[in-house]
Amino acid sequence: MRVLPRQLDQPLLRPAVEPGVGAHALASPEQQATAPAFSGSTGPEEADSYVERHTMADTAKPKGGGTTRSTGGRRRSRKDSPSNIADEQPKVLLEYYRQMLLIRRFEERTGQAYTQARIGGYCHLNLGEEATIVGLMTALQERDYLFTNYRDHGYAIGKGMSPRSVMAELYGRSTGAAKGWGGSMHMYDTETRMLGGYGIVGGQLPLATGAALAISYRGGDEVVMCQMGDGTTNIGAWHESLNIASLWNLPVIFVVINNYTGMGTPVEASSAEPELYKRGSAFRIEGVRVDGRDVLAVRDAAANLVERARSEQRPFLLEATSYRMKGHSVVDPAKYRTKEQVEEARSNDPITAFEATLEKAGILTEEAKQEIADSVREEVADAAEFAENSPHPEVSTLFDYTYATPVANESRRMPADPVFAE
């Protein structure tokens, strides 16, 4: 029995974790008070009645009415992480913090290198998404696969790729993840199962669905995670992929990073249903929304869906609300954002918030903070130095990667070469 996602404004039928219990310090009391419910897991025994209720409520509500529309897409989930920070291993929390900081410093260095013209092409940074990335990647097992869009540097590192290989790829060097063939938008690593950043919006969705099909075909127990931005939920590949994934019961988690802006277009201006996690309902895919600034909330929501996808063999949809701290890409001054929005993004820095939480809980000491900051700075500096000192790919390798199976009469003509050499 497939379960439809619960509407944001409906009461929880059975919360996965009692609200208010074990709330950690990321959410203030007033945030807790206004917290809309997010969809936790509903037991199969409740599925039937829930489907009915959802359908009836949905059809009874006129389009444009109801809480959902009136609040538009701007409402952010304030659901506390179900995890109690006191129950967490301090070591693990510090590792999350370290990874978040690593991504932050890595991306800052990337932005710097880009403005110094060390990096070419487009360059989209993960600044502000560190909690989401670390939460998501922590929820995956090593054997699980990841597909992302072009904003992929942090994910590559989070999935286990070395900052060196990512930075070298950004620099276009032969030591890069894709030997200098991919660049910023196309990180890839077979070993860590990061199966690609993809530059075409929506392109990764059918691929991820197919990877899940291969797992299902072989009876494997891996899961595929497919990350995308909010704008992707409007493209055809979204609808085709979610439909196929649900129809064929494939173990894939579609993760929408909703930073409320597709380049410069607000989510309400592009999506008729701006509550994006609900958009799985047309395919009977349960959707969950989580606060993407909260690493533990993201981890728990994602881990829950990942393990359910694994055991139940079906797809899920996870929406992580997010703030993009900078423009769409390094060169975008983001003039379409109001001062308030920029300020809001700054005040919602997930790293500052997590840092404060850990400090308050006595987990992050001043000494540990300095130590982590130093080690991260060192790792990023090492990655940049490695990239800088790595060789450029040899021009003689230009025709090495057109085909995996060598083929007769492959054209290997350089510009200005005659077609038929003497």
Binding site: P206, A211, A404
Partner: protein, 332 residues
């Protein structure tokens, strides 16, 4: 040696490849319960079950992309797109993904998949269902595009396509499915991708075609032989890579060439062939290279209009004779 249809050759090969390799499976619209729009997959669902013969929703971008993703994990999907016209819905996945994934990620993963799809006009299907747009795919490095014209070639080339580690667009033709030809019993030939074939030797002129036009070229050559004209027929078989050498060698021998193509003339595949001949056989040419192609209109429905728009035995014969007259051989 047995005589079977092009359709039967495809079906037999699919079946044999599925028995040979567990990783080979079929996907497409109506290929299972309905047994295929053109019945290529008849009986295969019954024999292999739903896991290996997968009916898809009408979602070309979704299921072609899913095949690519499955291929990245090592499966060998053979996708049927009902007609090449519908491949346009999947063109982002074919060109931006299937063709790119091997190179763009520095050779870390290959995409061993086949897209089978028929082109072809002449069935009164109108403008959107009669196109020959294999050119779009032949343009793209990273793809391999095959266009067999006989049952034996179809079998040998499909075998090669399935066993190849790269994405292959396998072009069939509505007008060829019922054509018959000899296929050796128990034949296991795996064609070499990227090779054209001289399917008929001749000395007066080279006639070049692929897919249905290679078959028609053979008919033209046969008829002209009775008039004492010796036509050499080159079947391109592979549109990417393109075997320029075989074409040029033939033209160097005969001194003139006519290209027959089912697609549109301007920017068409014939244009590339003509350019290749010019580059490789300029000094050997005794007459300008002629192209016979589809009329450059959206294909009409009405039979007389449709027939007039398509290249035919007559129009190709005319072009061959005019070329030979230009050479200085009076052939009437």
């Amino acid at each position: 040696m047995s005589v079977i249809t092009y359709r039967q050759a495809l079906r037999d090969t699919l079946r044999a490849e599925m028995h040979r390799d567990e990783n080979v499976f079929l996907m497409g619209e109506e290929i299972g319960v309905f047994e295929g729009s053109y019945k290529i997959t008849e009986g295969l669902l019954k024999e292999f079950g739903e896991r290996r013969v997968r009916d898809t929703p009408i979602a070309e971008e979704g299921f072609v992309g899913a095949a690519i993703g499955a291929a990245m994990l090592g499966l060998r999907p053979v996708v049927e797109i009902m007609t090449i016209n519908f491949s346009l819905i999947a063109i982002d996945q074919i060109i931006n993904h299937a063709a790119k994934i091997y190179g763009m990620f520095g050779g870390q993963t290959s995409v061993p998949m086949v897209i089978r799809t028929p082109g072809g006009g002449g069935q009164q299907l109108g403008a959107t269902h009669s196109q020959n747009i294999e050119l779009f795919y032949s343009f793209v490095p990273g793809l391999k595009v095959l266009a067999p014209s006989t049952p034996a070639e179809a079998a040998a080339m499909l075998r090669a396509a399935i066993r190849d580690d790269d994405p292959v667009l396998f072009l069939e033709n509505l007008g060829l499915y019922n054509s018959k030809g000899e296929v050796p019993e128990g034949d296991e030939t795996v064609a070499e991708i990227g090779r054209a074939a001289v399917t008929r030797e001749g000395t007066d002129i080279t006639l070049i075609g692929y897919s249905r036009m290679a078959m028609v070229a053979g008919q033209v050559a046969e008829a002209l032989a009775a008039e004492g004209i010796s036509v050499e027929v080159v079947d391109l078989r592979s549109l990417r890579p393109l075997d320029r050498q075989t074409i040029v060698e033939s033209v160097c021998k005969t001194g003139s060439a006519v290209i027959a193509e089912d697609d549109w003339l301007t920017y068409g595949i014939g244009a590339e062939i003509a350019a290749s001949i010019q580059e490789g056989a300029f000094d050997y040419l005794d007459a300008p290279v002629r192209r016979v192609a589809m009329a450059e209109v959206p294909m009409p429905y009405a039979k007389p209009l449709e027939s007039a728009a398509l290249p035919s035995v007559e129009s190709i014969t005319t072009a061959v004779k005019e070329t030979l007259n230009a050479v200085g051989r009076r052939v009437g």
